[in-house]
């Protein structure tokens, strides 16, 4: 309809004048819809049988845009209708296009028109390579004659070289354009496809002609100095090198092209050509280093020693990278990369001087990365160099490592330069950078950190000592940027050294230095960046503090002091949490002081919510490590009491909004942290924010209270019952009461439910009693009170799955009573769904829950009172299997795979399920055909490709475990309605039976997946075989 409307608005033009008017209108400023309509009409014209004639009529037009359209029409016609041309027609067409191209050049048509005509010629070559085998020689011949000739007429005694030498510069340039387009366009076709093999063969045969063309193109133009052809020759040469690399087995072409390297190197001498020449050599050296011969490398090495190179090098180090570029530096690095092994192993002066130049690139003027753009590529080279050193160190015999001292000298320079370069700029300079420059600066520092870790593999402790010395020197001189850089480098080595005590001597020099007194001074005494890096250093070396507890209180005091800082607060809190968690057992005596510290901070300011959670986690982890239970519970209650007050306040405020008083600090905790200046926060918002903030802190407490120690597990004995003593039980009851109350008051908040789930989960993994290790009955009671309408009910179902997992790991006595209550609840949630695909999370977690129950307690599943629930669930899971939602489908496939594997004997012998083989068999008699049908439906083309492997699992289990499976599957396979529409025509009944025979014979072996995949593909059709 839309097309019809368009045609009504813009009918096809009836004269050439109208076509020309349309083309002109296409390039005029017009609304997009008008342009789209014009384009549509012009494209229809191009595709019409009159297209050839149209192109011919317009190709000699005086206007470039119209000529361009004509050339484009030729390309379109060649691509669409070339099959209809006889050889004679095709030959005359070629003659014409060549003639038009030469004429366009002679007429002074725009370059874009002439280049488009070159593309038309190449399109011709792609379609008729057999009619135009020596395309370049023939084209040069035509250029010489000044007209198109039939390709068959090419029998001149003159060599291509002689013909090329007769061309004037414009014609030479045109021939080079054709050679460039030729290799670029042919290179886009598939080199491995037999269809294009003759095309590539003929292209390669043109290689020697390209060399003649480019050899002349590289020579300075004596005949017409106004037209330089070297730039075009470089572009063409690069395209042919790329092609030769991709084609990989074209030794004759490579040998021909190698003759052009020297002339191309000479282009460096021309300032205008420096950038493209450097780009060509950098690209070829980086990606195709074997293209160059030892003589080429020697020429390049000599070039790098010349005065010309010295001038470029100095400009690179001292000039502006933004204005001059870094082409020369990249060229040096590409050469270094190509010769890295030789350079590393050669102690000769030439190699050593070259490596010095490369390490010097790390010391260019300017800050990273905005001013100094060569540092990062240079660092990349040195990282490769270091990796090569490491490889050689381990592979070479010890006696053959004479190269190592030389290489290590360069490493020292590299490390020193990198250390200097990563120093932060002054704050005003940093502030003037855009975000990309700031990110790039940070990334470059990370690259340095990576490089240092590699160097550590070679240098070990001496590298740590090196930075420790730099650190202490900078500290003595109060040189803050150098001190920060040293601390950063030491931090980078933390992963390599921190858990090994042999480095402690060096590290103690750092951590016993006055630096940490400086950190403790008021903000402003030292730069913020230095404080940040210094605090980070404490966190990175937490294992050191575990071994040296004497430094720990001081370090933690520093961190606590920084918690209120808007910039340092987050990292400081993270460091506190990491450090306290790691060193919990040596900090137990400080628990009370830390709680007091936290109370004081809370009273004086509103902390960032995440920072507060981390501090609470840190304190809770110390509390957890207290051995004496009474003392532990005292500390716990003390911390919990702070949060409980917040809960009470939140509930109170929700009930009485009039209580809101933003002058009181307690209420300020409920302001939106991301937008503290938001106008007039409501009491409702404040109360929910206070509740959520404290809930998150409580979840952090639960996480902190998790036991970090690994206890021996006796697999044969029954886990002990987790009977909490009276005080602990009361505490648990209180926490649960608070959670339920908060959920009741803030029932619309999904986040509250999510946090409650996190709190429960923290307790599920514990093996010893604790405040968050709630009695199983209480947890079950909480779950069964939740309804379908409860916010985040899917998350609750997922938490219930985790709960079942924890029950299985605990005492058996708790398991049955909980499952008997939870199973009906979980299925009732599924029943409340309006459709199986209405809520992915509920479907997935509901199915997973039943799967978990069935895996160990089949008898609970088949209890008579559950029969209607069970019937619903089985049909529900089959509907899900038939559906389109991938995640529930995967859950259902997994359920059926597990369920089909169940044998009464595989469950616990003490369980009543042990003797329920008949029940299972009866169930499968009814369900088997349905499952088989659903699987066949999916694998017969309805499933997505990515689902096949998952769906193969229940299929394999069905075949292995049920003797009737073959009949069920046969019935489904022979029912055309089961397969994708169209599949029954593509896969005959015999083929389907053969498929069945194959998969049955495989008896669940892994090859089944491949057979199923082939069947799926056959059902879908050949067009789906595009991917292996």
């Amino acid at each position: 309809m839309a097309d019809a409307a368009m045609q009504q608005q813009l009918p096809l033009p009836t004269s050439l004048a109208e076509v020309e008017a349309l083309i002109r209108a296409l390039y005029q400023p017009n609304p997009p819809e008008t342009i789209a309509r014009i384009q549509e009409v012009l494209q229809r014209l191009q595709r019409s049988p009159e297209g050839w004639q149209l192109a011919q009529s317009l190709i000699a037009h005086r206007e470039d845009n119209i000529r361009f359209y004509a050339a484009l029409t030729l390309i379109i016609k060649l691509n669409r209708d070339s099959a209809g041309l006889s050889d004679d027609d095709a030959s005359s067409l070629l003659e014409n296009i060549i003639g038009w191209t030469i004429q366009a050049l002679a007429d002074g048509a725009g370059n874009f028109v002439v280049k488009k005509l070159c593309t038309a010629l190449v399109t011709y070559f792609v379609h008729f390579p057999q009619l135009w085998p020596n395309c370049l020689r023939h084209f040069v011949d035509c250029l010489d004659l000044g007209r198109g000739t039939p390709p068959a007429g090419l029998a001149k005694p003159l060599s291509t070289e002689a013909l090329v030498s007769k061309l004037d510069r414009p014609k030479l340039r045109l021939a080079i354009w054709l050679a460039t387009t030729l290799v670029e366009e042919v290179g886009k076709t598939d080199m491995n496809a037999p269809k294009f093999a003759p095309l590539h063969e003929r292209l390669v045969k043109n290689g020697p002609d390209v060399v003649y063309l480019l050899a002349r193109g590289f020579s300075p133009p004596a005949d017409n100095p106004g037209i330089k052809t070297q730039g075009d020759a470089l572009t063409c040469f690069q395209a042919w090198i790329l092609y030769a690399q991709r084609a990989s087995h074209v030794p004759d072409l490579v040998a021909s092209l190698r003759q052009l390297v020297e002339p191309a190197i000479n282009c460096f001498a021309d300032d205008d050509l420096f950038q493209p020449t450097a780009e060509l050599f950098s690209d070829a050296l980086s990606n195709y280093s074997s293209f160059f011969t030892p003589e080429h490398y020697a020429t390049l090495a000599a070039l790098f020693e010349s005065g010309w190179a010295a001038a470029h090098y100095q400009r690179l180090l001292r000039g502006s990278h933004e204005e001059d570029g870094i082409g020369f530096g990249l060229l040096l690095l590409a050469y270094g990369d190509a010769k890295v092994q030789d350079l590393m192993r050669s102690p000769d002066p030439r190699s050593q001087q070259f490596l010095e130049k490369l390490s010097g690139l790390l010391a260019a003027d300017g800050f990273l990365v905005g001013e100094d753009a060569i540092f990062v590529p240079a660092l990349e080279f040195w990282s490769t160099f270091i990796e090569t050193m490491i490889d050689s160190t381990y592979s070479d015999e010890e006696g053959a490592q004479g190269w190592k001292p030389f290489a290590e000298q360069h490493l020292k320079m590299v490390v020193m330069s990198a250390w200097r370069k990563i120093r932060w700029p002054p704050p005003d300079v940093f502030a003037s950078w855009d975000s990309a420059e700031r990110v790039a600066f940070g990334d470059a520092r990370k690259d340095v950190a990576d490089m240092l870790q590699s160097v550590f593999t070679l240098e070990g402790i001496s590298l740590v000592a090196f930075f420790a010395d730099l650190f202490l020197q900078a500290l003595g001189a109060q040189s803050w940027t150098e001190l920060e850089a040293s601390a950063f480098c030491l931090g980078a080595l933390a992963d390599c050294v921190s858990d090994d005590a042999k480095y402690d001597l060096e590290l103690s020099k750092i951590f016993s230095s006055p630096f940490f007194d400086l950190l403790g001074q008021a903000p402003g005494a030292i730069p913020l960046r230095l404080r940040q890096t210094g605090l980070g250093l404490i966190e990175r070396y937490r294992e050191y503090f575990e071994r040296h507890a004497e430094y720990l209180p001081n370090a933690l005091n520093l961190l606590f002091a920084a918690v209120g800082d808007p910039v340092l607060g987050g990292p400081a809190a993270r460091s506190i949490s990491t450090l306290c968690s790691s060193c919990r057992s040596i900090l137990t005596s400080e628990a009370s002081a830390f709680i007091q510290h936290y109370r004081t901070i809370r009273g004086s300011q509103v902390l960032d919510s995440l920072a507060e959670e981390r501090i609470v986690l840190a304190i809770a982890s110390i509390v957890q490590a207290i051995n004496d239970e009474d003392q532990r519970l005292n500390m716990f209650e003390s911390l919990y009491g702070l949060l409980k007050k917040d809960f009470e306040l939140a509930v109170q405020l929700q009930g009485q909004p009039g209580l809101l008083n933003l002058q009181q600090p307690d209420f300020l905790r409920g302001l939106d942290a991301s937008n503290p200046q938001a106008a007039a926060p409501t009491a409702e918002n404040v109360s929910v924010n206070i509740a959520l903030r404290s809930m998150r802190c409580l979840a952090s407490m639960a996480k902190g209270m998790q036991d970090a120690k690994e206890h021996p597990v006796d697999l044969d004995s029954e886990p002990p019952a987790l009977d909490p003593n009276g005080r602990l039980a009361a505490l648990q009851t209180d926490i649960l009461r608070v959670l339920i109350e908060i959920q009741r008051v803030f029932h619309a908040s999904g986040e509250v439910v999510e946090i409650i789930c996190n709190i429960f989960r923290a307790g599920f993994s514990e093996t010893l009693p604790g405040p968050f290790v709630f009695p199983p009955g209480a947890v079950t009671e909480y779950f069964v009170q939740q309804r379908f309408e409860t916010a985040r009910i899917g998350t609750l179902l997922s938490t219930a799955c985790s709960f079942v997992g924890s029950l299985y790991r605990g005492p058996k006595v708790y398991v049955r009573p909980q499952l008997e209550r939870l199973l009906p609840w979980a299925v009732s949630i599924l029943q409340a769904l309006p459709a199986p695909d209405a809520d992915t999370e509920i479907s997935v977690n509901g199915i997973n829950f039943v799967d978990k129950v069935a895996s160990k307690h089949l008898d609970i599943l088949f209890q008579p009172q559950n029969s209607s629930l069970l019937e619903f669930f089985f049909l529900f899971s089959i509907k899900v299997l038939d559906g389109k939602d991938p995640l529930p489908k995967f859950a259902s496939a997994e359920f059926w795979a597990n369920f089909l594997s169940l044998k009464p004997s595989s469950v616990d012998p003490s369980s009543p399920a042990f003797s329920m083989g008949d029940t299972l068999a009866n169930a499968m008699t009814h369900l088997g055909p349905l499952v088989a049908r659903s699987l066949v439906r999916n694998l017969g083309g309805h499933a997505a490709r990515s689902e096949i492997d998952k769906l193969c699992e229940p299929l394999k289990r069905l075949i292995v475990t049920r003797p009737e499976a073959q009949e069920w599957l046969r019935a489904a396979l022979l029912d055309d309605a089961c397969l994708l529409p169209g599949a029954p025509e593509r896969v005959s009944a015999d083929e389907r039976v053969a498929f069945l025979r194959k998969i049955v014979a495989l008896r669940g072996a892994r090859t089944t997946n491949q057979i199923v995949r082939e069947f799926w593909m056959a059902c879908r059709g050949a067009q789906f075989a595009y991917v292996s």
């Binding site: 074997s290 980070g536 990491t578 490709r945 990515s946 067009q1023 595009y1026 991917v1027 292996s1028």
Partner: protein, 113 residues
């Protein structure tokens, strides 16, 4: 593995590649594209994902574990590591895994060096 002059197709098995293939299947099924185009899209995907991971992704992690098995065959390194702890770029966050298999292929084309 990949032909010498093309990119590895191993990222097609990642979640992005799998989702892309499913989407292409759907478009072919609806007759909105032909398989040749789908094949080109996947080839393009192979190139772009390899280049993007190499050039654009700056996030990094470190890991420690016990090296169980390693092999080097047909230019492919394979490492099986047990009890692995991954430490992410942002500092404190760690991820534990019992067993990790790392398959690494050269980022340089085979005829390059």
């Amino acid at each position: 593995m990949a032909a010498p002059n093309s990119y590895y197709d191993l990222y097609r098995h990642g979640s992005l590649g799998v989702a892309l293939t499913d989407s292409l299947d759907e478009l072919i099924g609806d007759e909105r594209i032909d398989p040749q185009l789908a094949m080109k899209v996947l080839t393009q995907f192979d190139r772009v994902i390899a280049e993007t991971l190499q050039e654009k992704v700056k996030a990094r992690l470190t890991f420690k574990g016990s090296l169980d098995t390693y092999r080097f065959c047909d230019e492919v390194w394979t490492f099986l590591i047990r009890n692995v702890t991954f430490k992410l770029d942002n500092g404190a966050q760690t991820i534990q895994a019992d067993k990790v298999k790392i398959v690494s292929c050269s980022s340089k084309k085979t005829e390059d060096k």
